[in-house]
Symmetry: C2
Subunit: 134 residues, 2 copies
């Protein structure tokens, strides 16, 4: 069912510092910051040959990643995103198998403009998993 690893998202306490570090220390292809007001984050993409790293930085007063940064002030891996072909079929299969989908259970339009769902980290080895329909 799951396909490619679309991205690994890292919550960072300093977007400029993280971008500079990946650019100069790791020699990676680092994009410009993009505000995503609907998602409460500013995002920077690091393009690797086979996948992406996404830096997430809080935007606005109710950012969904503020709590994570409060608990992990140095930053840390926030979630991983797996691609699926059909997010409704994926969700229905997961729910039948006993996995918990976060929120209402209905896909939302994610930061890439595609339908996404998040799965409960307690059901998946402590990892927050995003599914994105591609």
């Amino acid at each position: 069912m799951i396909g490619r690893l679309n991205h690994v998202a890292i919550a960072v306490p300093d977007l400029e510092a993280a971008s500079a570090q990946y650019r100069t220390m790791l020699g990676a292809d680092v994009g410009a910051p993009q505000d995503e007001p609907d998602h409460g984050v500013t995002v920077v993409f690091v393009t690797l040959p086979n996948t992406k790293i996404e830096f997430l930085y809080p935007l606005g007063d109710a950012s969904p990643i503020q709590g994570f940064l409060d608990k992990n002030p140095a930053g840390g891996i926030h979630h991983m995103c797996y691609e699926v072909e059909n997010i409704i079929a994926a969700r229905d299969h997961l729910v039948t198998e006993g996995a918990r989908v976060l929120g209402s259970g209905e896909p939302k339009i994610g930061a890439h403009g595609k339908p996404v769902l998040f799965l409960h980290p307690k059901d998946f080895q402590g990892c927050l998993i995003e599914l994105e329909e591609v």
Copy 2:
């Protein structure tokens, strides 16, 4: 400098449960457990179209991931591995730029039989980064 994301490593409290879950719930290509006594872990590879997930489970009395699981009993993402072409050149560049390499600073032969180094998580947004020469 960095190339592909070689793998994301997840420390898991139950290797069989994690394998069964990725196989049946997520429909992924999950391999058989491989003991790596030199590294104090039993490993299971999940092969995705563009990268790998590695489950890590403690093997023996002095496993390097036991402390992580003690702190994170449900499991969690332990490290990410980026590929580099020349690990000595990568290390020298990183040290010049002020990053800290864990241990002696000399590459060791990793679980894939290739030279690896680990970078200090405090220097990289709270993420433990492995570099592997490919």
